[in-house]
Amino acid sequence: MKRLLGSRLVWPSAVLVLLVLTNLWFSHGFLSIEIRDGHLYGSLIDILRDATPLTLVALGMTVVIATAGIDLSVGSVMAISAAVACLWISKQDHQDTLAAVAVGVLLALVVSLMAGLWNGLLVSVLGIQPIIATLILMVAGRGVAQLITGGQIITLTSNTYNSIGTGYVLTLPICVLLTAVVVAAGAVLTRRTALGLLLESVGGNPKASRLAGIQSRRLIWGAYVFAGLVAGIAGLIDSSNVSSADGNNLGLLIELDAILAVVIGGTSLDGGRFSIAGTVLGSVIITTLDITIVTIGVPTDATQLFKAIVVLILCLVQSPAFRARIAPRRRRRNPPAATPDALPPVTGDVVEVSA
């Protein structure tokens, strides 16, 4: 129990529960899930489905942030990926064939991968600060997407493509399953191998990591490639939902929500320690918040402000400084055990602690 309370996922989880309860108050059927036509239906399923693009983008963002970097270009990469896939499929005579869609998707993923390679090249080889390096593609990427779509919104009639975002397999939405698989793959890749440790090491102290023999250049490069790839998948889901590619608006400002999801999940922007579970939780919270705004009927003019206030509260309850302030006086006098001066319990006659 103590361990559970000490986990950094406690506060985000509490916020999520609170959001769900709020929804339940305003809409009594919020928690109900039923089976219609062999598919699961319900608000909770909607939340999961709506959260998929953000979850994927935030997953890539987590890995990049762990290396003490940031990727602002993910929204533009989504747009490029959608544009490539839609352009290819729209040129086919039979848009519904699996081959047409598969090739389109594959092309889109290759282009996303290249976008990640570009970002990684700028950051890890050429040493440009991540925020600037990825800002380049954030701005230029929109232009690239526009060029691909010829400045128009490409609309498809492909049911096969459309099913990526709206179809079902085994009663569950395909996009949810797809996202779950990608997230699981990301978790296995980082935690079942030493990749996670090495990434955290590079993000925590690049100089010391080099002297410990870690090839930080490759690792950082890899993180950006991964972020590009998953952003590409997110772009496919987003565009298949509406069967079109809008180079201007697809994935617009999603990088901000993604960064927010990562931070809510307990990963520090300073790099180092990261939590994929936390990020998934963060994405679901943000999506639930968007839905809550609709459920409780916040006027359209006020939605942005409302969201900002909830996010502010969320950040406050996670801030150690704020919690120390509102905590009772008795506890405030004892700094948390994590300070450099904290004294570990020792045995024997010699007490040795940091000076």
Partner: protein
Amino acid sequence: MSRHEPVLTMSGIRKAFPGVVALDGVDFRLLPGEVHALMGENGAGKSTLIKVLTGVYDVDDGRIELEGRPVRFSGPGQAQQCGISTVYQEVNLCPNLSIAENIFIGRQPGTRPLVRWSAMRRRATELLERLHLGDLDVNAALGSCSIAIQQMVAIARALDVDARVLILDEPTSSLDAAEVAELFRVIRQLKTDGVAVLFVSHFLDQVYEIADRMTVLRNGKLIGEYPVAELPPVALVGKMLGREREALEELQELSVRPDGADGENREAVLAAEGLGRTGAIEPFDLTVHSGEVVGLAGLLGSGRTEIARLFFGADRPDRGRLRMDDQAVTLHGPRDAMARRIAFCPEDRRNDGLIEDLTVRENIILALQAARGWARPLPRRRQDELVQEYVDLLGIRLADPERPVRELSGGNQQKVLLARWLITRPRLLIVDEPTRGIDVGAKAEIQRLLTRLALEGMAVLFISAELEEVLRLSHRIAVLRDHRVVRQLENQEGLTVDSLTQVIADGGAA
């Protein structure tokens, strides 16, 4: 105020952290115009006492009186306004700002929000002249200055507020002998001005040189307050450790000099032939044999670390070559060196060594894991075994290997760094200042460990600013001065700290 009226009195100070009482009823007083040394092992409570005094921590119990009035500071800023200034072990200034800005940051001259830059520069120059550093360019970025100068700037900053109490926490740990002398001159000047100086240092000889009185703490308790003249070093160490006999025997046992004669018939592990790097180290020859400790002696900045970095592939040489097992090798980076089983514990533990956010376990296995590559993770059971083995072997005192390494003391952090490299089973271990800033007990343990590793056949390149330590451990000593290897000496009878100092001073000409 009378000279014998304490400027500062602390009585019955108690401060507890979860799980440990850091200060238990400690009394402490400071007279004007004295240098008072606060002595104790790491964890004795020195840092906590300083932090209580400067308002970083609130006390649980006890009184603090400044010139007879009870005070309670809510933070270092308030303590400073009342005339208590602190210069910390790690320079807490901004390297990207200029010297003048660093001195006056937070109390810039001029009407807020405006700054009178000319006044700031003038006053900065005046302050530095008081420290005989008038020829420094106050517009230069602090980061471009040596650590010693940065330390002086920190002191200048502390002096600007008309400090009546100046706390110096390990001020000399990054300074070489000449710089220490310079610092002591400044401290003596402050003494005659009536400033009370609280001095914390691990260097006993420095304490005996500069301090008038000392207060000894052990395990958070006050052991006593003594005039320096009445407490000889042996008795002091005994009081600090609280286990007089064993500790002293331990140190004596170590001072048995390693046998330097049989160095010849051992196999050469790594040899430098005319190796050099422009601006870092002039071309030099140096061979390290298996089972041998080679000490690098020289002042700070004389090129000791530069040699270590060339041997580890951290920097590329632009002249000469390295030979390993009679083959010329080029090290393209630390990984190359690691593949040839060379290990390097850098001087700056916090910035170049440990990953502070990671756990003790993760820090220990890091180099081994990096060598294996990300796709071949060390099984968790094997990790735990290795960590346990080396925690026991090196006597690392910790609560839990799953806690962040930054919670450990300096000595234990150093051992974690050594453990990281020892589990890679190196043939050549390069250690740069492994005993700096750690307490007597841990220091003796690390010295003993290095001696034993050499006995077991490892080649060790040992770098330390403490000549006594270099003499105690090394079979051979390479003397450096001004980025040149000036002499290589067999460590035989007759070689003393004094004669070694002489070699350094003469630049090997004698």
